[in-house]
């Protein structure tokens, strides 16, 4: 909290100094020549083509690798080795409608392929599939009234992987203040997920065999597949059944207010209210009780989350931009967290910047968390997933951004190239590295 107070005192002082500087500048230039050309007289920035056109294409790619020894699949012990290769494309289309409102249609498609060593231990012998893919298309349509400074949009989202499907919808609205120096925004989101009930192998029912009158028999497997087998051992018919799923719903309202403080500083206040209900555990996470017996993670079917944050970006001198962020988080499972980050973007030239960054995160444990063999069998809820444990983490790295006027590598259409590398470490021994690339085409 001390850091917040000091930051706000700092902002306030900066604002006051800038007000004085501007006031003295205005006084000194009181006798403006009568022939001065008004900026609005020849302003051509309002020129906007009306036709539907592809404005921007973004290609992104990312490689993530992780290691640790507290996997939730094996009850808070065991390997957490993961690799994830993520690729995607975002297309932005623009057009003006009859009322000259700006319309933006964003179409996105992402594809991830991951390997996860712990997934193999869903089967007790380590023989389960240790990887998978995820595909996630998205769509967003926003209408912006530039004269009134308002915008309204709707979005849809889907994410599909073998054991988890998610469908999302959102509505978002924003309005600028009369002087266009502040903006208030609201985003309502709903995610409707299905968790496939894949249990650790020791909890999967053994196949059942039922003899039917004709002398054949029916085998029903744990996943519900049925095979009718003749007495000679020949499969007469089979029917596949999908594994049952359980729903998980997430509803959220996200509020934001941004304000330009002066010509170098702007801030944004963010606050979300999130409610989750349904099956919030994961069926293949084990928990080992203090008596040595294991079971499946069990968490309450409802969770409220309230994160609030502030961003402040400051243009220092002519070529340094400070990008800062702070968030306080609390939820109904008893977890509290603080996140603070600072990025210093140094413009080597107007078209090339280097941005080292550092992020610090600390959270307290949820009341349902205990490490391996620390839970009592009489506990109502239990998890050994270290995501809910107490830890601190550091994340640091560097980013590069190139936006040359003649295009990256002289290719006019490739207007932007961003590369970023980061190293992440938790006090739980989990470490990861991520490298990401974004290419922007116009």
């Amino acid at each position: 909290m001390k850091k917040i107070y000091l930051s706000i005192v700092g902002f306030s002082l900066l604002c006051r100094l800038n007000v004085q500087a501007q006031a003295s500048y205005s006084t000194g230039n009181a006798n403006t020549p009568a022939t001065t050309i008004s900026h609005t007289d020849y302003d051509t920035t309002d020129y906007r083509p009306r036709r539907f056109r592809l404005d921007e294409v973004n290609l992104f790619s990312s490689y993530y690798t992780q290691n640790g020894d507290h996997s939730a699949v094996t009850g808070g012990i065991g390997t957490e080795k993961v690799t994830d290769n993520s690729n995607g494309i975002d297309l932005n289309f623009l057009w003006l409608n009859n009322s000259l409102n700006k319309n933006t249609l964003s179409v996105g498609l992402g594809y991830d392929h991951h390997t996860s060593a712990s997934s193999a231990y869903v089967a007790l012998n380590g023989g389960a599939k240790p990887g998978g893919t995820r595909i996630y298309p998205s769509l967003d349509w926003t209408v912006e009234n530039t004269k009134q400074g308002t915008s309204f949009g709707i979005g849809a989202y889907y994410s599909g992987e073998y054991n988890y499907k998610s469908k999302g919808l959102d509505l978002h609205w924003s309005t600028k203040t009369a002087d266009k120096n502040g903006e208030f925004g609201v985003k309502l989101q709903g995610y409707f997920d299905e968790v496939k009930l894949i249990y650790p192998s020791e909890f999967v029912p053994q196949p059942t065999i039922t003899v039917i009158p004709a002398g054949s028999y029916v085998i029903t497997t744990a996943s519900g597949n049925r095979e009718v087998v003749s007495t000679a051992g020949r499969v007469i018919s089979n029917s596949k059944n999908t594994l049952p799923s359980s729903p998980r719903t997430t509803l959220s309202a996200a509020f934001s207010y941004s304000q330009i403080i002066n010509s170098r500083l702007q801030v944004m206040f963010l606050g979300d209210v999130v409610e989750q209900n349904g099956y919030l555990s994961l069926p293949f996470h084990r928990v080992y009780f203090s008596n040595g017996k294991d079971t499946i993670e069990k968490l309450p079917s409802q969770r409220f989350k309230v994160p609030v944050g502030i961003r402040a970006n400051y243009f220092l001198g002519d070529n340094i931009i400070l990008r800062s962020y702070y968030r306080y988080y609390m939820d109904s499972w008893g977890s509290k967290a603080n996140t603070a980050s600072l990025e210093v973007a140094y413009k080597v030239t107007p078209f090339f910047s280097i941005s080292p960054f550092y992020r610090y995160y600390a959270q307290s444990a949820a009341k349902y968390f205990a490490p391996y063999e620390q839970h009592s069998a009489s506990d109502e809820y239990y998890t050994s997933n270290y995501e809910y444990g107490q830890f601190q983490s550091s994340y640091y790295g560097v980013g590069f951004r190139i936006v040359p006027p003649k295009g990256v590598f002289g290719w006019q259409n490739l207007h932007e190239l961003e590369i970023r590398y980061g190293h992440y470490s938790q006090t739980t021994n989990l470490v990861s590295d991520v490298i990401s690339v974004n290419l922007g085409f116009k």
Binding site: M1, Y5, I8, S12, C15, N18, Q22, H39, F60, S62, Y64, D84, S116, S118, G132, R134, Y136, Y157, S159, N163, Y164, S166, N181, Q189, Y191, D193, T250, S252, A254, I260, N262, S263, Q266, L270, D272, V274, F284, K305, P307, N313, I321, R327, Y329, A337, K347, S355, Y361, Q363, A366, E387, S393, R401, V403, E418, G422, Y424, Q426, S432, V434, S436
Partner: protein, 73 residues
């Protein structure tokens, strides 16, 4: 008591900060409009926000997603 005082002090400082905001005309916003000054996440941060929300309890208040996707590996 100290808790209430700190809250009041926090609110007072917020009000003082905003009372000294300067009204800028569009042509005075050259620094504010610099693309790196945007109060949003960078496009290249997309995957980072994903893994942070899966590895940590806290999420939200960062103009990102608040749900969807398993991330359970």
């Amino acid at each position: 008591m100290i808790k209430y005082l700190t809250k009041i002090l926090f609110l007072a400082l917020l009000i003082v900060s905003f009372s000294s905001c300067v009204h800028l005309k569009e042509y005075q916003k050259n620094r504010i409009n610099d693309s790196e000054m945007a109060l949003t996440n960078r496009k290249v941060e997309k995957n980072e926000l994903n893994f942070e929300s899966y590895r940590e309890s806290a999420s939200g208040a960062n103009a990102g997603k608040t749900g969807g996707g398993c991330g359970c590996n």
